[in-house]
Amino acid sequence: MVAVKLENLTKKYKDVVAVDRLSLDIEEGELFALLGVNGAGKTTAIKMLSCLTAPTEGDAFLLGKSICRESADIKAFIAVSPQETAIAPGLSVRENLSLMCGIHGFSREKKDEKIRELTEQLSLESVLDRRAGKLSGGWQRRLSIAMALISEPRILFLDEPTLGLDVLARSELWDIIRALKGKVTILLTTHYMEEAEALSDRLAILKDGKLLMCDTPDGIKAATGEDSIEKAFIRVVKEAKK
């Protein structure tokens, strides 16, 4: 079943076309990556799909619901971990999770159970009572993802989940994201080539808002005749310039 369907999705700001007639299908349970350098339009695409900003043209359907007309329905089954770590800095990790449970209207039992479950899933025990604002970038990202998972979303958007993290923190976060694979449809954005290759079932190469190529990592390497995604990416982007 198609979980996310983009149809000519377009966003224009005054003089830039941030996302340019993007069309693609993401299957339920798939981990799909949008790969592109800074300014390619990844965040804008996520903002439209999560109903934060309206498309200028085109539409997208999440589990069959239109982002233009049925955003209230969509909000019930999506969650986002934004590019900037969106946490409440003055609250502890536990309080942050509890806040999200409250916002989603969970009962006390369900809240306790959810916090226990996510603490285990994202190995947050050791920082549970620390102030979120005082944690390292890696821990903040983990908390941010945990907060997104609270509502048991069917579609999860991760905008540059490992931006600015060191190698170890990144590798740990990759394990966490891999563990989510299959349970929830994930659309993640990244400008790290190796991240797209390591995590995604399929990936789309984005440049200036346009989709240049969309396939499995192996498919993209085969199509370009390169042996790494990085080389393949460079070739695809250069050829598009001509």
Binding site: V80, Q83, G90, E95, L99
Partner: protein
């Protein structure tokens, strides 16, 4: 329920900042002490405790603007607001969630201010209690200004505009520090067209039990509070849509 959860978060976020606590409780106490000391040496009727304490109580509320605006601006910039926009939170949840927790904080500020004034010689009467209650519309006004600023400014701009400009403006134009009649003219006209001096004079009247004199000032304060709150809500909604 959502409003309360979110309001609780905002309450904690504000009170857990030690700098905020300093502003909130330290500032009025220091000002009261300082001006009373001056008063003891060079008596000025403006700085008698019955005149001074309502002024300081009102002035202290200008920090509500700073707190609200800083919190909102930071939430907008850190994408925390984006996360919340993708949840079932409604605009009312946001606006009430940012406004309500500041009311008890404002009240606490008033309590500290008047309690300290009692130590400095203010006479205890039911009017002190009523003065606290009349602080609430003033608090609402300052919170609404905070909502307004937080919806459009970055957290750095908030520091400059709400922290420096507004506190100065509300100090100069309030008649707390000097008698506006001494300056007169356009300055006085401007001051009386703005709500700050009305808030102070209302509090002064209530503290001496002169309610008929307080009422016209109350309308000024309520009028400005309502207008600012409506503007803030519209701006907030506009921001939310524009995202």
């Amino acid at each position: 329920m959502r409003t309360l959860t979110f309001g609780g978060r905002n309450f904690k976020e504000i009170l857990r900042d030690p700098l905020n606590l300093c502003f909130l409780f330290g500032f009025p106490i220091v000002l009261l002490l300082l001006l009373s000391a001056i008063q003891a040496n060079i008596p000025v009727s403006l700085f008698e405790i019955e005149q001074l304490s309502p002024g300081i109580a009102v002035f202290g509320l200008s920090f509500m603007t700073l707190f609200a605006a800083t919190l909102i601006a930071k939430d907008r910039q850190s994408s925390f607001m984006h996360r919340l926009y993708t949840t079932p939170m409604t605009p009312a949840d946001f606006i009430l969630g940012y406004t309500l927790p500041l009311l008890p904080i404002a009240l606490a500020e008033g309590v500290v201010c008047f309690a300290f004034a009692l130590i400095l010689g203010l006479k205890l009467s039911i009017n002190v209690l009523l003065s606290l209650i009349f602080l609430l519309p003033v608090a609402l006004l300052y919170i609404a200004i905070g909502l307004l600023c937080g919806s459009v400014l970055s957290d750095k701009q908030v520091g400059g505009i709400c922290g420096a400009l507004l506190t100065n403006l509300s100090a100069w134009l309030s008649g707390i520090w000097f008698d506006l009649d001494l300056v007169g003219g356009v300055f006085k006209k401007i001051a009386y067209a703005l709500p700050f001096v009305h808030a102070v004079e209302m509090e002064r009247a209530v503290l001496v039990g002169n309610f008929p004199a307080a009422l016209p000032h109350l309308w000024w304060v309520l009028g400005y509070a309502a207008a600012t709150l409506i503007a803030a809500i519209l701006l907030f909604l506009h921001q939310m849509k524009k995202q």
